[in-house]
């Protein structure tokens, strides 16, 4: 994610020469602004408006104003709370895979010779560039209860096949694991890069002072890695449940019994399976406000707690 701050005025001192200078920037900005307004900002406003209506998306049928009814209905819906809870499970379940394990890997393997590190790096990054649908298809095949490789493997150990995608207690963890599989290499690389960035003189100085390996990790590496770790934590919290969408859609359809439905999938379900624009829009507004508040808090926290070494 690029910085949110406006880059300092780099190129040319502002000059007021004529009216041309005032219009020029807007001329360059028009295509971008137009696109973002038409496809993001206006739809946001429109979603807000539609959330107060009842409508089934057919151009011929009327849009009926229902006030806050959509919101009331949604909050009264057990499905909504289940999806919200599941969203939390997704995020919490992903944190170890997207942050903790990569952090341990990055610290543990930073001593490996550069050549083999490059090979590992190239391999563990592969899941990141594989299309989500392809990943879903392949895992569906690997996890098939009858012929899937994973269950064959389990069978060799004499255990019963696991219904990874159809057991309500297991399915959500399967989806989390697949999402984590997609991310783990990427996170490891981000943290390895940050780890490699630490000035070796700092480590050496601590070693000379008799610091143990663990003390070096705890007192030097972890604090210096904190901003990268916070970045990954923030990404996981904000986007974790969203990354799972394709896998839910392809692999479980939100089931069994809504066990893998998260808030993003619920939105999709409301909007395009039940064709209820009002419900879909109302939950979109709820999601957007919740998401915005969360993002705001996280950005503030990061500003406050990230640790900079220079």
């Amino acid at each position: 994610m690029a910085d949110l701050a406006l880059p300092p005025r780099g190129l040319a001192a502002p000059r007021k020469r004529s009216g041309v200078w005032r219009i020029s920037p807007w001329f360059y900005l028009v295509p971008a602004i137009l696109t973002l307004v038409v496809w993001i900002y206006w739809p946001l406003v429109d979603a807000f408006r539609l959330s107060f209506y009842q409508w089934n998306m057919l151009p011929t049928s009327p849009q009926i104003f229902v006030g806050w009814e959509n919101y009331q209905r949604i909050f009264a819906l057990p499905k909504f709370w289940q999806a919200l809870r599941n969203t939390g499970v997704y995020v919490l379940g992903l944190l170890p895979l997207a942050v903790l394990v990569p952090l341990a890997l990055a610290i543990y393997t930073h001593d490996l010779p550069a050549r083999s590190r490059n090979i590992y790096r190239a391999i563990i990054f592969v899941p990141m560039i594989i299309a989500p649908v392809v990943a879903a298809a392949v895992w569906r095949w690997l996890l098939d209860p009858g012929y899937g490789m994973v269950n064959q493997l389990i069978g060799w150990f004499g255990a019963e096949p696991v219904r990874f995608l159809s057991d309500p207690n297991i399915a959500i963890w399967t989806i989390i694991a697949i999402t984590g599989w997609k991310l783990i290499g990427f996170s490891t690389l981000i943290l390895s890069a940050a780890n490699a960035n630490i000035n070796p003189a700092l480590i050496e100085a601590a070693r000379m002072d008799g610091a143990s390996k663990w003390e070096i990790i705890r007192d030097i590496r972890l604090p210096l890695l904190s901003s990268s770790v916070l970045f990954l934590v923030m990404m996981t919290i904000l986007l974790g449940a969203q990354w799972s969408f394709s896998y839910i859609n392809v692999l479980t359809g939100g089931g069994p019994l809504g066990a893998t439905t998260n808030i993003y999938y619920l939105l999709w379900d409301f909007g395009f399976s039940t064709m209820s624009v009002g419900w879909g829009s109302a939950s979109a507004v709820i999601l957007f406000l919740g998401f915005g508040a969360l993002a705001f808090v996280l950005f503030r926290l990061i500003d406050r707690y990230s640790f900079h070494d220079n």
Binding site: W26, A32, I129, A131, P132, V138, D144, W243, F245, V250
Partner: protein, 291 residues
């Protein structure tokens, strides 16, 4: 999040590390073991996809790591049952056009931010950055309705339209332009070059690296895009390959062989790009974060 450290991870270290090296042979063996295991976990599913796709249908459920016999039957079947070639071409068109347009609008907007100070510039910049935080699921219904109104359902143009501009391209290019030496621009201006020419003849050629890495990123993400096509596709002829893959997974059962063949075909372009430009691909993903 920029992580340029990739290039020189250990450059400064060996001198200092020599002393510690003796005791760490065992440690480093364990490190290798961990990384080899992780590599297997990451790569095996991809390998298994290709391996399965090459098995003849009657040996599909073999568990030998290397297919005992190979055949292209699965590919033949996949190509005959859905218009895969057409879908691949559609995906290619969408990805190339999206990449080109996003780079174009991104360059224009970034140039405006980098070169001029104008009323509300910070507000507009923040407005661009914040779009990154709007989940697509929130705006999908109005977007869908707009496409329907335009009569573009089941038309690949609709897949490109909302991606005419992206916060990612604008922000990354604006950052790159910030570090561009002012003297060059000044010199060009002294020579009487208008701002338009400065952008295309001075800035753009010098931003080749950033543009290339951004192009890789946009191309791969567009190629892999699933959600928006899923909303709009009606017929196989006007779909992208990601939707095609799904056609082999039905409620009645999965046609594993053709499914793996279609998945392999869908992944091939991206994997080829990755094999050829591995370092650049990794760098461009890491520079931009996820998404």
């Amino acid at each position: 999040m920029t992580t340029d450290a990739l290039k020189s991870p250990l450059a400064a270290a060996p001198r200092l590390r020599r002393k510690a090296a003796e005791g760490t042979a065992l440690n480093s063996a364990a490190g290798h073991l961990v990384m080899v295991l992780l590599s297997i976990v990451c790569l095996f599913p991809v390998y298994w996809m290709v391996a399965t796709s090459l098995r003849p249908p009657n040996t599909l459920f073999e568990t030998s790591l290397w297919p005992s016999q190979m055949s292209l039957d699965n590919y033949r079947y996949a190509l005959e049952s859905i218009p895969i070639v057409r879908m691949l071409i559609n995906t290619l068109i969408v990805s190339v056009v999206t990449t080109a347009i996003q780079l174009f609008t991104g360059l224009l907007a970034a140039y405006a931010f980098a070169r001029w100070r104008f009323p509300f510039d910070k507000l507009v910049y923040t407005g661009v950055a914040l779009t990154w935080l709007v989940p697509f699921q929130v705006v999908m219904i109005p977007n869908y309705l707009l496409i329907a109104q335009m009569g573009l359902l089941d038309n690949i143009t609709a897949l490109i339209l909302p991606n005419f501009a992206s916060a990612l391209a604008i922000l990354l290019l604006a950052q790159a332009m910030r570090s561009f030496p002012k003297e060059v621009i000044e010199a060009a201006r002294m020579d009487g070059a208008r701002s338009w020419r400065v952008l295309w003849e001075v800035m753009t050629p010098n931003l080749r690296g950033t543009i290339a890495s951004l192009a890789i990123l946009i191309f791969i993400s567009t190629w892999n895009e699933y959600f928006w096509p899923l909303l709009l596709s009606r017929t196989a002829e006007n779909s992208v390959i990601q939707i095609g893959i799904q056609m082999f997974m039905t409620a009645e059962g999965n046609q594993w062989g053709p499914l793996m063949a279609a998945s392999t075909l869908a992944s091939l372009p991206v994997l080829v790009i990755y094999v050829v430009l591995q370092r650049q691909v990794i760098q461009s993903f890491m520079k931009s974060g996820i998404r």
